[in-house]
Subunit: 637 residues, 2 copies
């Protein structure tokens, strides 16, 4: 399938946009007129640059407010159009996007509109170009694609066809099935955008909140399936107006965009497979072959966390906290300056930040998969950037990719028992006498979830990365109040909960993770037991206010013994229809902290109702100065 | 009128919120339960701190999901309520906010709800407290204040009254007039919030976009007028959920909040004056006296720009550009390290940034007013912070206040002719031989508008500052696309356009004004003439792409001679039903640049359609390096 992207999706100058689109592997671009008007380059220049970059110029857009007007305005409109057709000839662009009239239409008479479109078709044909007519969701008289298709049919001109835009169709709740009634050769262009489900006016929704396919709530696989059934084989182009993308690095945004188009093609194929393929145009297999869908090879989602890598310049504090939680020091790596701590199936690799610069504290997530090669091939097909990683002879190969926040995602072997790479660590060279041979576990079983703070520019991209490259499923997002703003949180997970990654969007004012640290949550069957054992080893948990426990009692009528234990051990509590949740936190260690969680019954949440209490307690401690946090790790071992 | 503020309006810990509210002069606060639950302080502690700060504790909130439930849940709810009543006793708070049920109500039967409210009243009375019942706009069965009032009437209990919240009432489009049918002594509490007009679902609108009175679109003066007519004389409290305020400095936000309450009281008084005063409760004058409205004294809005002060570390470049534009160097100030440049009624004071730190490039706006004392008294009543300014003996007194972005707003004398303070400048001590005695003006008449980039945290506060403290009227905001994101722009102006201040909200990624510089626009009757004269003196205007002029021709069929002149001189053009607009820009000089504008006919805009071209041209030049901008000011004088 040919891929295209509107220049409005990307930030920067027109030159920068073209370079970013080419670098991400797009076949072509739509020239968004304001980008061209603001450029010092002539159409011929831009044509040459695009050709050098291997990009086709697929569309010039938008042309506005044409049909349904008075005869005088119609004459002026044709003059306007002729100037644009001349321009397109200079560009070598053969298709103009015409939006349905929002401002100047005086009549909703279909015959008048069709006749004016026919005049436009004559003019276009004389210039050797054509016009793709699109119904805007807020058009004055024409706001649905079926109406637009009717006008195109009435105009009955070879140079007049339709442009289908998924946003304008799905935002209005229109059923895309009738796309199949449009002849494929009258579909002149197709624009794709996803969007979160918002009950906002459609104009604001469109101008600010569009996202790339897979980042929103629309069923675009179905949309594409209906489209392919028409026999359409032109480009699938992205037209996404998004406040954040407009501010982000265009190269990164373009790769994110291309990733979304790979996902879209997979979703279209799957929909066709489920719904009888191409229908009259042939079977699904034939469709896929003819349309040359760029679909990533299949790979099973990850099974568990193979390991988590944390980087810090205060490794002693991390070591002390892990030892207090019952982790065993498994020694340093034979060739890399990192060390391993384990308990049950929870494995932490600790290393210094040195040389890594701005990498986040949670610098790497190792995912256990049943087929590393398949997972890597799928990740590459989703345009993930491989991480260069040295392996000494005999060391286990780990295949890694760079996540949008700069951290690394690795695929390791999910076989039973400990991974082979653990043999690469040994206590012989352990640093600083921190080895605790006698450490007995406290009951921690594995990593329950990892909580990653994301910079605001990368949140949507991160959701797409973990759902495509890593293969997790996105769940609905929530919001949590912190003393310094609202935190948006979204969990990506596997069906059985073996892997859960929570992404948190820090308030814009947060820089450097000071306000929203990252954290690892360890699973146990006995949170109170772990808390008690860790306390005996000197761990001072994050203190939870007495007010919280008074309110817990008012809300839940808890067993007095349980309530007393929760209060004594600073363990928080939540309950829903499915089960209960007990959890506690360590103090912050640099920009990372730990949590221990116990899920009772079918509880599948994360104690979101308790998060404001936790965030406020962390904020209080930062206000009180670092002395408090130092105390957390100063106790006896 | 007693003023109160909900702790949820402010960021930080509960302690910080209380201090900020007290510092801004509030009489009391509402304790927002999550703020209390997250606090390590006991109710007794908080009571003591509030008392020390001179704050009353006016409300505990919210209590949820009470009425219309099954008998079993009703019993559990009463247990929950008893715990909160005990807590309130410890706080010394006499009123609980009860929100209408959104989650657990099984029945919409008014008799059942009223009977359960009556039970709650009995329990409250036994604890010596009372309950203010509020209809949430998204309540399950009760979502309007008239319904809530009906239930209160049915409950018929001394301890059960109503809470009126302007957001919940006005967001639903409910008419506040029926507030007058509620007996004043049954109005137990009043919460005020404004909001922009959004077609968003009311829950999201409420949770994220509320603003302080005067920052949104609601007619709160009328709301307050109807309320006062009931005889209500309790506190007027602010309850504003706002994503930005949650991230802003609580001290600044609290002052902004108090400013909005002063404005609200003025609007309420004005509404009463226009609508026959207190009605049955007495005349408007009596109302004002009895209610002790804290209303700012009247002052006429400013007439013109007295001067504009620009600070830069590259004064030579500014001097060159001003000389090229035809400004005359009027010499340095007799006691301050600043210098004056004038042309017509446009007066620029230039000074170094030294010692000012992070002050914006446009560091001061001098507004000409007919009565300085009245303007200053009004500003003070609006809680503006005076600027300490040394005056040597015999120098003109300027009264100044600090704007939210750190710049200074001064009130000067708007008499005919040049202000007296000009005599404090003289060419004798002019620096660096830059004096140009022969400078003949190019046709610049005065300052048309000043364009100030605002940090995102301060945009709403800035709108409120200029509309209250300075006395300008806010116009609707627009959005403009820049290469690095969307720019929100809002103009505040006087009726005759003598003073216009445009506030621009930079994209979050912009720091330090690199992307969105500030600028001064000078008015002329002949933009082409000024452009030609300035070019003859060496000014190289911001270059505008040829593509822009081709499009201009396609759109407007301009006279070929005019189009050629525009193109030759890099002058931009806009047209609307009222008239035409011609304007051009200088290159950026540090983080400031100049514009020259000509308004023909009744054109009242700012060429917003041309702003993307200007922003892209500026972005291109920054990309091309500072060499280009250096060239702007390197030409002959």
């Amino acid at each position: 399938m040919r891929t295209s992207i509107a220049t409005v999706c990307l930030s920067g100058t027109l030159d920068e946009k073209l370079r970013a689109a080419a670098h991400a592997g797009f076949d072509g671009v739509e020239i968004f007129e304001p980008d061209f008007l603001a450029s010092p380059r002539s159409p011929e220049d831009i044509r040459g640059i695009a050709a050098d970059l291997g990009l086709s110029l697929d569309l010039y857009q938008p042309f506005r407010d044409f049909e349904g007007v008075s005869p005088e305005l119609h004459r002026a409109n044709l003059r306007r159009a002729a100037a644009k057709f001349d321009l397109m000839t200079r560009f070598g662009i053969d298709t103009l996007l015409l939006c349905s009239n929002v401002a100047t239409a005086k009549s909703g008479d279909d015959q008048l509109a069709a006749s004016q479109l026919r005049d436009l078709g004559d003019l276009a044909a004389a210039h050797g170009v054509r016009v793709a007519y699109e119904a805007l969701a807020w058009g004055r008289f024409v706001d649905g694609y079926e109406h637009a298709a009717r006008l195109v049919r009435l105009a009955d001109h070879d140079a007049i066809g339709i442009c289908l835009d998924s946003f304008h169709i799905l935002s209005k709740g229109h059923d895309p099935e009738a796309i199949e009634t449009i002849p494929g050769d009258k579909v002149f262009f197709v624009q794709m955008a996803d969007a979160p489900q918002l009950s906002l006016d459609v104009l604001s929704w469109s101008r600010h909140y569009r996202v790339f396919p897979g980042e929103g709530a629309f069923d675009l696989g179905r949309f594409l399936g209906h489209l392919l059934r028409t026999g359409y084989d032109g480009p699938i182009s992205l037209e996404v107006f998004n406040d954040t993308f407009r501010q982000s690095d265009p190269e990164e945004t373009a790769i994110d965009a291309m990733r979304s188009l790979v996902l879209l093609q997979e979703q279209g194929r799957d929909w066709l497979d489920r719904h009888g393929g191409l229908g009259s145009a042939g079977g699904a297999l034939a469709a896929r072959e003819r349309l040359d869908l760029d679909v990533a090879p299949a790979a099973a989602p990850p099974v568990d966390f193979n390991y988590v890598e944390v980087r810090s310049d205060d490794l002693d504090a991390l070591r002390t906290a892990l030892a207090q939680l019952g982790f065993a020091d498994r020694g340093v790596h034979r060739s890399k300056p990192v060390e391993l701590w384990t308990q049950g199936a929870a494995r932490l690799v600790l290393g210094p930040t040195g040389g890594v610069g701005s990498a986040p504290a949670v610098a790497g997530l190792g995912f256990g998969v049943v087929d590393q090669d398949a997972a890597a091939a799928r990740a590459l097909a989703f345009r993930a950037a491989p991480v260069a990683r040295e392996q000494a002879v005999g060391e286990e190969r780990l295949v890694g990719f760079r996540a949008p926040d700069g951290s690394e995602a690795f695929f390791g072997d999910a076989g039973d028992g400990e991974p082979h790479w653990i043999g690469e660590f040994g206590t012989a060279g352990a640093a600083d006498g921190q080895v605790d041979e006698d450490a007995a576990g406290t009951g921690i079983l594995r990593v329950d979830h990892v909580n990653l703070a994301q910079p605001w520019q990368h949140f949507d991209a991160a959701v797409l990365f973990y759902s495509t490259v890593v293969g997790l499923a996105a769940t609905p997002s929530t919001e949590v109040a912190a003393p310094i703003g609202l935190v948006r949180s979204q969990v990506l997970r596997t069906a059985d909960g073996g892997v859960r990654v929570a992404l948190n969007l820090a308030p814009s004012g947060d820089t450097g993770g000071a306000i929203l640290p990252q954290h690892l949550a360890f699973a146990t069957d006995d949170a109170l037991g772990v808390a008690r054992a860790a306390r005996a080893r000197g761990l001072a948990p994050l203190p939870i206010p007495a007010n919280y426990y008074d309110d817990l009692d008012a809300r839940y009528e808890l067993d007095p013994g349980l309530l007393a234990s929760l209060r004594e051990l600073n363990v928080l509590y939540d309950r829903d229809a499915a089960g209960e949740f007990l959890h506690f936190y360590t103090g912050a260690i640099g920009s990372v902290f730990f949590e221990v969680v116990e899920r009772r019954g079918g509880y599948e949440g994360y104690g979101a109702g308790n998060a404001p209490v936790r965030l406020a307690a962390q904020y209080e401690r930062r206000r009180a100065g670092s002395a408090a946090d130092a105390a957390v790790v100063a106790g006896p071992r």
